[in-house]
């Protein structure tokens, strides 16, 4: 007589005889104990319902729908990921990229690191591009969109003395304000002294960059009327942005 599992006759009293195929037989010999189903009585429909009633209490009944505006202390949240991809700067040296994120006073860093340095990269003699593929991931929260985050990029190349780097240029770009993936192009500029000899050197052998230690000065407007600058290429950066609570504050960004 063949036993049919799950019929009305065999519903409960045959539960101990019920096993899955992999638990017995030649395939089950090497299996660890966790992969074998223990017999709690929960393998039938009645037993499963009995178990679930004990573990989960019933949901509370409420007439009003959930109102997200009733939560306390909300902020604007933003998650920024992406990478610094390539650049077409004209050098034959090895070039390193250092990025820092700079914001206004109201933005707090929740997740990730503000600044990191990448590897030293070189281009193939035939092509124009230097590739870094440098990833970044950063999370912010704030109460107003003033002082929107900016990424400041410094390009460096090594010199003969170890641990001393020579700067090739600076670039800075705003993070996009709408969610999604975008690629942005940041232009590289190289600040130079205003004397006659440094201008001649710049035209003959390429500009020699001044060192600006605080990246906040590159993202600011102060002191820019007095500096003079050479253009030396561009950097491609991709951003993936997600936002939260912008509609609640009144901003519609998509």
């Amino acid at each position: 007589m063949s036993l049919l599992y799950g019929t009305r006759e065999n519903e409960d009293h045959q539960a101990k005889d019920f096993t899955y195929k992999a638990e017995t037989g030649p395939l089950a010999e090497g299996l660890p104990e966790d992969y074998k189903y223990p017999d709690d009585g929960g393998l039938t429909r009645k037993g499963f319902q009995r178990k679930s009633r004990l573990l989960e209490p019933p949901a509370p009944i409420s007439d009003e729908p959930y109102d997200p505006e009733s939560e306390l202390a909300s902020f604007l949240y933003m998650n920024i990921t992406g990478q610094i991809e390539t650049s077409n700067i004209i050098t034959t040296d090895l070039v390193q990229v250092k990025y820092t994120f700079i914001t206004g006073s109201e933005w707090d860093l929740i997740d990730g690191k503000k600044s990191q340095e990448s590897q030293f990269a070189k281009r193939i003699p035939g092509s124009n591009l230097v590739t870094w593929n440098m990833e970044f991931q950063v999370g912010y929260r704030s109460l107003s969109p003033e002082g929107w985050p900016v990424i400041v990029i410094e390009l460096r190349s090594p010199t003969r003395t170890p641990d001393v780097n020579q700067i090739k240029g600076y670039a800075c770009v705003h993070v996009p304000t709408f969610p999604g993936t975008t690629t942005k192009i940041a232009k590289i500029f190289c600040p130079v002294k205003d004397t006659w000899w440094s201008m001649m050197k710049a035209k003959l052998w390429g500009p020699q960059c001044e060192i600006i230690e605080d990246p906040q000065q590159i993202a600011d407007c102060e002191g820019r009327e007095v500096t003079s600058v050479f253009y030396s290429g561009q950097v491609n950066v991709t951003f993936n942005v997600t936002q939260r609570n912008f509609e609640r504050f009144g901003y519609k960004t998509f």
Binding site: S70, A73, V173, H174, T177, K187, A202, F230, Y231
Partner: protein, 198 residues
């Protein structure tokens, strides 16, 4: 520290329409010089527009840039503006003046341009072409050899009184690129101004 923003706790300032302009004055292209160029940008807006937190007295002035590869003048001047309005008329405009810096340290006004800022959300790459007024053959020869190109005597011709432009003869110059992102606040309650979804 704000503890809650329920509807009861919102102030009348929270319902006001506001605009944020976030971006950079990127670069200039097509200027026929080897000498350094500087860009000065002045804001103009109507009566019902209010600049937050304070009204700025001085115009924005960028760094001087010398052309490197591809004859591009790089400025990369950050722009972070915040306006609160009661009416859309009189939306802000930029008056652009490009100055030229010689080897000897002289500064000349090189060209003019006017650009109006967009009022919809999104990312914009604005291209503002610039121009310069022409004088006699004498004035042009002086500006070529000695320096000092002709300037406008009455600068209302740029924006305030456009009837004066009938009397001006100009020659075209390069173009200024401005990269902007616009954030609108509370515009849906008062005006339906937003980009249509494709």
């Amino acid at each position: 520290m704000i503890e809650s923003i329920r509807e009861i706790d919102k102030l009348p300032g929270d319902y006001k329409t506001e605009i944020h302009y976030i971006g950079q004055i990127l670069e200039g292209r097509g200027f026929d010089t080897d000498i350094g160029l500087q860009c000065e940008v002045q804001l103009e807006y109507g009566e019902s527009w209010m600049e937050l937190p304070q009204k700025s007295d001085t115009p924005m002035q960028t760094q001087t840039s010398y052309p490197g590869k591809d004859e591009i003048f790089v400025w990369c001047h950050p722009v972070d503006l915040h306006f609160a309005t009661d009416s859309i008329f009189g939306s802000p405009k930029l008056l652009i003046r490009v100055w030229r810096l010689d080897d000897l340290g002289r500064i000349d006004l090189f060209s003019y341009g006017v650009c109006s800022l967009p009022c919809t959300t999104g990312y914009f790459m604005l291209n503002c072409p610039t121009w310069r007024p022409i004088g006699n053959w004498r004035d042009e020869a002086m500006s070529f050899f000695v320096g000092g190109p002709p300037k406008l005597t009455n600068e209302d011709a740029l924006n305030k009184n456009l009837d004066l432009r009938k009397k001006v003869k100009t020659v075209s110059s390069g173009s200024v690129y401005i990269e902007l992102e616009v954030l609108l606040k509370n515009f849906e309650k008062h005006w339906t101004i937003s980009k249509p979804l494709s």
